[in-house]
Symmetry: C2
């Protein structure tokens, strides 16, 4: 009987406000039998790469009315990953297939309702497999949908991106540059600012922690105002952006990471600018745009092969490093997409 | 020489924050010669009806970055009105035409650049002329554009309207009912609440001044949440609405009257709901939609003729009553569209 160890990352209990801690997550070893045939609509996978994403913070708490459900205490947490199918009871997948989508933070996962789960079969393997946790997965699709679909950008427009060195922000900036926009990003360290300017081709970037007056900082970089704001931060930054928007400006709200750990969110005061400047703010969730995935791949794969997209990964080796990798996300420790390597094949 | 008296309402000086007062406006009598031929692109009009609109508050102050310019001190203030053309140097208009659009708060106005000024010739006179200051003018177009174009409503959706007894709010509610939506409005007095329920056909209405907890009040009227919010108020009401929105909800921001007189606007705290519920908020200005005016008339004129639209006017007689009428708007004195009758023909 091929019962093997199955290392898992488990949530101790749903947490309240405040920064999550590594100790909120427990590493334990369960057993799993790899030889029991899976039932209909179930697949057994070996997890290869796991993605650390900001939205996972919400799932650690027990909140009502969120767009994702809370993690279940004492169960492996769930996130996006790349995995190899070991056995399949789902007609869409077969043994040996590589897939990306929602899986468990463990070495092996039984994924029930695989079809409905939004798993994608990986068809192109001439690019790094880990990219499907980000650039070729939800991260890339978020940047694509948020920028092209929500922001409706035009060549020459003025684009600002907060948390720009994050996985989605870097991509949005590069998409905007490829379209011929003027692009400025904010980030939280000199290292990240340098990355944006020197590696990602942003026109400008600044460290928001060094700016006493965010309204003035944005005015400096956008003397004529901002056409498009790709919002990852919320709170004070959103307020400062509102004061600097141009008429018919668009704000795609992808995240508001500055607000997730607060007991009470920050107030935003400049909302009358929505009227004065006829601004559109739109929150979006990438899953609403997954039908565009083939169109996205058609655009992005040539860019990747031609080296036109700079994509940085911050790789943590081994499932045991996963808690630190995830928690680090909320203190801005990572540079680029945070990936956990569970196994390389 | 037909020099006649020309009574005028003049702004004493641009005002700061706080409620405007009647004494900020001065009534004076100038002279105008009605027999001097007007130059090219100029028309001379006799003003018949003037419209009091909330946005005029902004023009009384001297602010930068507004969507309208400040009123010029010691000059007649400017607003929407219905007028009769006495002489025309503009090919689009001829003597005897009735028009609606921007005109001066005075008995007679010389309108320069009439063509560019966005004046509309009145073609249908089987309905009350005063309606062109509101229902058939900017008010009606605001309701039409904001509801149909910005909110993209569907039959059966849950619609909330703040300042619902105002000119635009009443109409939006009726459009929503005609489409088959569930409609609730808020207003600031029992009289207004009764009007909404008994005259305008709203499903429900409530007096926001009697609600200690706006979030709870909205939850009571919308146990399943709000699909569409027609925003006239801003601040605390917007915050409470955000907490009650449904997934893919839409907010059309037409005004934020609660914020105009504040030294510092109120903070709004629930903006992360934009993400959680994938909400779209969009500020709009009716002038961006004036190309739809013929389409709007096509819809609204039959409704008016068939008595399917309830439209209330609050009429002040004589130009000398205009300052009180305008100032009353900001304390919620009026019920329905505030019109000043300068002359009936």
């Amino acid at each position: 009987m091929a019962e093997v160890n199955n290392k898992q990352i488990v949530l101790k209990d749903n947490i309240g406000a405040g920064s999550p801690k590594e100790s909120d997550l427990i590493t334990r070893v369960s057993k799993i039998n790899l030889n029991v045939p899976v039932g209909p609509n179930v697949i057994l996978v070996k997890n290869l790469y796991l993605s650390c994403d900001p939205y996972m913070r919400s799932r650690m708490s027990k909140y009502e009315g969120r767009y994702v459900e809370s993690f279940t205490p004492d169960q492996p947490i769930v996130g996006l990953g790349v995995a190899k199918v070991l056995d399949s009871g789902d007609e869409k997948f077969k043994k040996g297939d590589l897939i990306w989508g929602l899986t468990g933070w463990e070495e092996y996962s039984l994924i029930t309702n695989a079809h409905a789960h939004g798993l994608f079969k990986i068809e192109h393997t001439d690019v790094p497999l880990s990219y499907y946790t980000g650039l070729l997965g939800m991260t890339g699709m978020s940047a694509y949908a948020g920028f092209y679909e929500v922001c409706a950008p035009k060549k020459g427009e003025f684009v600002f991106i907060s948390a720009a060195s994050g996985a989605v922000g870097q991509l949005v900036g590069q998409f905007a540059k490829l379209l011929g926009c003027y692009v400025v990003g904010s980030a939280g360290s000199k290292e990240k600012v340098d990355l944006l300017k020197n590696e990602c081709g942003f026109d400008e970037a600044f460290n928001y922690k060094e700016e006493e007056d965010l309204v003035a900082a944005l005015k400096r970089y956008f003397p004529e105002g901002i056409d498009i704001y790709f919002e990852n931060v919320g709170g004070k930054m959103l307020d400062a952006v509102l004061a600097n928007m141009r008429i018919h400006g668009r704000i795609a709200a992808c995240g508001m990471i500055s607000q997730y750990n607060l007991e009470k969110p920050e107030g935003v005061y400049n909302l009358t600018q929505i009227l004065h400047k006829r601004i559109r703010i739109e929150g979006f969730l990438v899953t609403d745009y997954y039908h565009l995935y083939p169109k996205f791949l058609e655009m992005i794969l040539p860019y990747i092969r031609e080296g036109k997209i700079k994509y940085l990964e911050d790789t943590a080796e081994g499932l045991e490093s996963a808690p630190a990798a995830l928690i680090g996300l909320f203190s801005g420790r990572n540079v680029g997409k945070q990936v956990v390597v569970v196994a390389r094949e």
